[in-house]
């Protein structure tokens, strides 16, 4: 059978930067194949996708060596328009991909561009809308859709082109677990019905459930592995990609040591942030109701929940970006409305999801000085604080960092800079909104490590979709769903509460199941066999590497007869 895509020793060097982005890479994708492309940020995944869909060489100026064939013909000899009838592409952020004002217009966009007859376009719109379950949305404006709905509509728009293979860039990055599951099921169905898919994703564990036949692992633009999943799980660097917990246990001996970020101890006589019967709304649209919550001045709190549940709204109330429609929000015991912006800025450092949201200055030095200068601080103090925070986020080693334009930093460095911009205001609590969306495990670990270790910061509250991140780094997890706080517990308690995982757009990961199975609540007075990381309180969950090591040392032996975990290379149900 003819391969749909054949990449033969293809390498790419962008002419704009002169840098090689992808070394000699080979890949073959045929009907019925689901291929996972993974690797840390900047490894060349996006460049490979651009090769497959023809953006390279047609839209990006790049030198390509080797050969890339789509449908048996070289991509260089075909137009993007032509390639798009074979290769459908889903971008990471559906908001940038969706161009139609209504769902029907969006799905019709591709077939319209192909100049198909109207009857055929209507037939395709109805068919794919029914297939992916968005028929009820057809007349809705795309601007009013949730993240999960947008992703399904974007996928419907791709399927309407009737491609034979879809390439999907980080489908899990912007979605809650339930929405991710719906999308990946559709992609799997597309493959099972004779199509093919190439999915770029670094959250390996979640992807394994959908049975990729082959994994391509890239690092620094080079192919480190190409083959079946089992082999990949044996070789994948555990600190770089998120692997299933049973794999971590099986490879416990090779896991790197983990140094938990230091924590600030102190008395929590008055909560840092308290909600008393609070309802939060944007104009007439009520987002959260009946919130009674007190977050401590020395706590690490994770806020979990599905897209659109009100997670960001909850924490935005702390800095008056949304006012309480009912009830009262208190900061350090006094109403937030009585505080000035300057007072709030030195209490809470709020780090937005998009690092580019606030960058405007010509140099990093001026960017760092902007906030403190607005607070009336002097140049000497600003210079001192700027140097301190750059050291805290490990950007001080960058050459001429103070004179560099902020947007010339890499994406990961920009994220660290946004933390520095918050820290330079000397806040006592850091609020991170989706701090690790779309980031690989290594970047995530480094980013959160910097945030949690910051010297002046007493507490960190972070919003995330990543269940394992919440369990690993928080002392306490608050779950928000359908405009209400539906759970508020320690990570271990939450993992053991099975009812939470069937609701609230959450899915139990293998780490959750491991906690449930192997970290039973300690009876009063008894010592726990597996203690959390030093400095973390009761109810916390040890770092997955520590937990895996501990469980591995408790396991009876290589025969595995009593090993509670599935064998390496299989997925957990």
């Amino acid at each position: 059978m003819t391969a749909l895509i054949e990449v033969r020793d293809a390498s790419v060097r962008y002419l704009s930067t002169g840098q090689a982005a992808l070394g000699a890479t080979s890949l073959t994708v045929g009907p019925g194949d689901l291929t996972l492309v993974t690797g840390p940020s900047g490894c060349g995944k996006s460049t490979l996708l651009r090769l497959l869909n023809g953006l390279i060489p047609h839209a990006y100026r790049a030198e390509v060596c080797g050969e890339v064939l789509v449908g048996g013909r070289p991509v260089a000899a075909r137009t993007i328009r032509d390639i798009s009838t074979i290769v459908g592409t889903m971008l990471q952020d559906p908001r940038r991909q969706i161009v139609g004002t209504t769902v029907a217009a969006e799905i019709a966009f591709g077939p319209e561009n192909l100049g198909l007859p109207r009857e055929e376009i209507r037939r395709r719109v109805e068919e794919v809308a029914g297939r992916v379950g968005v028929t009820h949305l057809l007349d809705r404006a795309t601007a009013g859709l949730s993240g999960g709905e947008l992703q399904m509509v974007a996928f419907a728009g791709v399927l309407a082109m009737a491609p034979r293979v879809v390439v999907v860039d980080e489908p899990l990055a912007n979605l809650d677990p339930a929405a991710s599951l719906r999308l990946m099921r559709e992609i799997r169905r597309f493959v099972d019905e004779g199509g093919a898919a190439v999915v770029v994703e670094h959250r390996v564990e979640e992807m394994l459930e959908f049975g990729p036949g082959e994994v391509l692992y890239l690092e620094d633009g080079a192919t480190r592995y190409l083959g079946p999943v089992e082999g990949f799980l044996r070789m994948a660097p555990a600190g770089h990609v998120k692997l299933p917990f049973p794999t971590l246990v099986a490879r416990a001996g090779e896991l790197p040591a983990v140094t938990p970020p230091p924590r600030r101890e102190g008395e929590d006589a008055v909560p840092r942030l308290e909600y008393q019967g609070v309802a939060l709304a944007y104009g007439p649209r009520r987002v959260l109701t009946g919130v009674d919550l007190a977050l401590g001045a020395h706590e690490r709190v994770a806020v979990l929940g599905p897209n659109g549940a009100g997670k960001s709204t909850l924490l935005r109330a702390a800095v008056m970006l949304v006012a309480a429609a009912r009830g009262e929000v208190l900061v350090d015991g006094s109403p937030v409305a009585e505080r000035s912006i300057a007072a709030l800025a030195t209490t809470f450092g709020y780090v937005f999801q998009n690092p580019g949201q606030a960058l405007f200055s010509a140099t990093v030095g001026r960017e760092l000085a902007f906030g403190p200068r607005n607070l009336g601080r002097g140049p000497e103090q600003i210079a001192r604080d700027s140097a301190d925070v750059l050291r805290a986020v490990l950007l001080d080693g960058e050459k001429d960092i103070m004179d560099r334009p902020p947007r010339t930093l890499s994406f990961g460095q920009q994220r660290r800079l946004t933390v520095a911009l918050a820290l330079v205001m000397r806040p006592r609590t850091l609020i991170l909104d989706e701090p690790t969306a779309g980031q690989d495990l290594r970047t995530t670990t480094a980013f959160l490590g910097h945030a949690l270790a910051a010297e002046s910061v007493e507490s960190v509250y972070f919003i995330t979709h990543d269940v394992d991140l919440a369990l690993t780094y928080a002392d306490r997890v608050v779950v928000v769903d359908k405009g209400r706080v539906v759970a508020d517990a320690s990570p271990a308690e939450l993992a053991r509460d099975e009812s939470v995982w069937s609701k609230a757009g959450l899915r139990a990961t293998s780490l959750v199941r491991a906690v449930r199975d192997h970290l039973p609540p300690a009876p009063p007075g008894a010592s726990e066999p597996l203690r959390p990381s030093p400095g973390r309180g009761a109810g916390s969950v040890p770092h997955p590497f520590d937990l895996a090591r501990a469980l591995s040392s408790h396991a009876p032996g290589p025969s595995g007869s009593s090993n509670p975990f599935p064998q390496e290379g299989t997925t957990c149900s």
Binding site: L55, S84, G88, L91, R96, T101, P111, L114, L321, G356
Partner: protein
């Protein structure tokens, strides 16, 4: 502030019309009322515009703020241009009163002319509002394309409606992010200084929009946009009601044009 396009007239007589009708009627109406100094024919045209506006079924509560703004702005404009600084030819007749400070004599002719201008603006708003509120947002592109605009420009109109809400959201997000860094917009009277203080908001929003636009352009290319032939799923065809509406406004424009050429509407009417 919500900048999402508001399709308030959905289901009305005008919303069922070919969108080209709603785009062409304001042009024809402008041709009819432009350059007329006599209040009476302008009132007659306004009565037609009112009927047309009623046919759009736009709920009052949805556009109350828009009308308030429009009426306030145009009333001030008319007072300044037609009452406080009238041309000599429009201030004949006995003086009713003199405007203090400006020392302008106000006559019946002055008031009649001011009323003519105000009513003209109101009638134009009446035929213009249905463009904003009675055309389905998804119909703009195809309507412009069928009026002869290039496919790319026509789709550009659709994209504007699509990305207006997200660009606005990005602006709000940036303002929020900068406020948390102690940013406040300058209240200085110096316009240059005021403009410069907008940099922390304008620069990130513009740069982010350009970065996002690159992804959007790629996404459009990857769905075969930009070919010579494009089918618009929405099929447009004038029906009898469309032709009647267009014909009516065309006839009115022609009649007013003839009257203007014959010099029948160039004199300010004084009762």
């Amino acid at each position: 502030m919500d900048v999402t396009p508001r399709y308030l007239g959905a289901g009305s007589f005008l919303s069922r019309r070919d969108p080209r009708v709603l785009l062409l009627v304001p042009v024809l109406h402008l041709a009819a009322v432009a350059g007329i100094d006599d209040l009476r024919p302008v009132l007659a045209c306004t009565a037609v515009a009112l009927l047309y506006y009623r046919a759009a079924g736009i709920p009052w509560r949805g556009v109350r703020a828009n009308w308030t703004f429009m009426l306030t702005f145009t009333t001030l404009l008319v007072i300044v241009n037609s009452v406080l600084t009238p041309a000599d030819t429009r201030s004949w007749g006995s003086v009713l009163f003199t405007v203090p400070l400006a020392h302008t004599d106000v006559t019946w002719a002055t008031l009649s002319y001011a009323a003519t201008i105000l009513v003209r603006y109101v009638s134009l708003a009446m035929v213009g509002f249905p463009v904003a509120f009675a055309i389905a947002p998804a119909d703009f592109g195809v309507a412009f394309a069928r009026l002869g605009l290039s496919q790319r420009l026509a789709y550009g109109v659709d994209l504007t409606f699509r990305f207006l809400p997200s660009t606005w959201a990005s602006l709000r997000e940036t303002v929020d992010a900068q406020r948390l860094r102690g940013y406040e917009h300058s209240r200085s009277r110096n316009p240059v200084k005021r403009l410069l203080t907008l940099r922390p908001v304008v620069v990130p929003v513009t740069v982010n929009a350009l970065v996002d636009a690159e992804d959007t352009v790629n996404a459009m290319d990857l769905r075969a946009f930009g070919g010579r032939h494009r089918t618009w799923m929405r099929e447009l065809a004038f029906d009898r009601a469309d032709l009647l509406v267009l014909g009516g406004f065309a006839a009115m424009a022609a009649a007013m044009l003839v009257a203007r050429i014959l010099g029948l509407t160039q004199t300010v009417w004084v009762p």
